[in-house]
Symmetry: C2
Amino acid sequence: MTSTLKIGLQAVGPLEAKLSSFARLGADEIALIRGRLTGPQAHPARTELLDGGNDEIRLVASGWAGVSRVLADGRRQILRVALPGDFVSHPPLIDTKVVALTAVRSFDAKPLLNDLERDPASAPGMREALQRAQVDLQRDLLNQVVRLGSLTAYERTANLLAELLRRHQRAGLGDSRRMPWPITQEILSDILGLSIVHVNRVLQQLRRDKLIELCAGVLAAPSPDRLAEAGMVAEGPPPRPA
Amino acid sequence: MTSTLKIGLQAVGPLEAKLSSFARLGADEIALIRGRLTGPQAHPARTELLDGGNDEIRLVASGWAGVSRVLADGRRQILRVALPGDFVSHPPLIDTKVVALTAVRSFDAKPLLNDLERDPASAPGMREALQRAQVDLQRDLLNQVVRLGSLTAYERTANLLAELLRRHQRAGLGDSRRMPWPITQEILSDILGLSIVHVNRVLQQLRRDKLIELCAGVLAAPSPDRLAEAGMVAEGPPPRPA
DNA sequence: CGCCGAATTGACACGGTTCAATTGAGGTGG
DNA sequence: CCACCTCAATTGAACCGTGTCAATTCGGCG
């Protein structure tokens, strides 16, 4: 077993879990995922994930990535967070890059997706799952607009944390109450469109309100429901289990 | 010539102009647009554009529509504005509806899109144009996140107005300096995530700064470039002309 | 031990909201 | 033709959420 293969086996976990939550996958389809992921790469924090290729698509295998736009005067907005199991590609918005928020490992997802496009019928479960994942992505993006446009700092933060918890759970990372918490408050402030100082105070308030606990790189929510409620989360029905 | 056909001929204007700005369309393809638009409908302001059908897709022919989410306590965020020539469908986010911001006329776009899906090769120009329009839509959505997350009220407003000017121009409605302005400041405040009172003050400031003029339902920008600059607009290269 | 980035805290400034009242512009009925 | 109603736009004043600046503490890590 080569080192690459070892990495590959770890890597499929989150993607496999995520897709399985959207549609039932056959053993052959899971094998397809494992066999078609190539070009493993390690990205130190703060580096870009994509090079020039305009149609590049990579799968985040571990760590958190962010789609971020930097304005002329230095303000930075992170448009979306990509967790393990998520795909990233060049955003159509100018001055917008995909950067590693933590250390990240990724794979080239082009071969896998090309195969599917060429012969959709060969992996019907995958195809449906990817479609649903795409819809989910769009939903989270719309929700990010609501977060930034209509929620207070406190609600905004709770809303984001609830979303990240759900996504981690779906990717098989952590349970519904706990997830890794690898990012700084500065990064969080760039996601939420708040100042770093205010993020700090909001997090403290959330802790005082017993909505979250934060220690040793792990974020725990004693009651995910109360957290979601505080964040005005609009919950749809859970996806069809596999 | 029936009344419906008359409406149809007016309706293809914006869509035809928009798509033509993305790819060269053959005469047969334009005829396809005209022939395949059915189910014309008139929507009074403040009503929903879509009924139950989950896969419904409609083309806005005149007026402005908005994708809006209403929170439990009544706060409303308009996620995106749909102008003539834009398609609308059920958003994946819960509690989110497509509503008429002004009086709107629309068509059922399903037959047209179904034809294209069934036989993509029959209208290659259309296919490419629709793809580019889709990318453009995604870009505007990402930009809405930046607007709400990182820009001040003044910048936010300038940025939105610049975007609406560009989109109107692309749809062949008004030139690069002028566009119809059919919405109230309350609606604008729901797009920008600001209070109605503050929107009023920002608009006055923009007028004092000679960035916009507003009268008789028409918005004029003496210098679109300065407006875009004030809005921190990240301009990409213009689309390939037809 | 000493360094450095991240987290935390306090004081203050400011952008934006809220409340409340006024003005202006159609639209309708007497 | 005027009176009246309603909704949108406008204005003023007070309030408050959030940003800014600056200093301090904390926690790894060499």
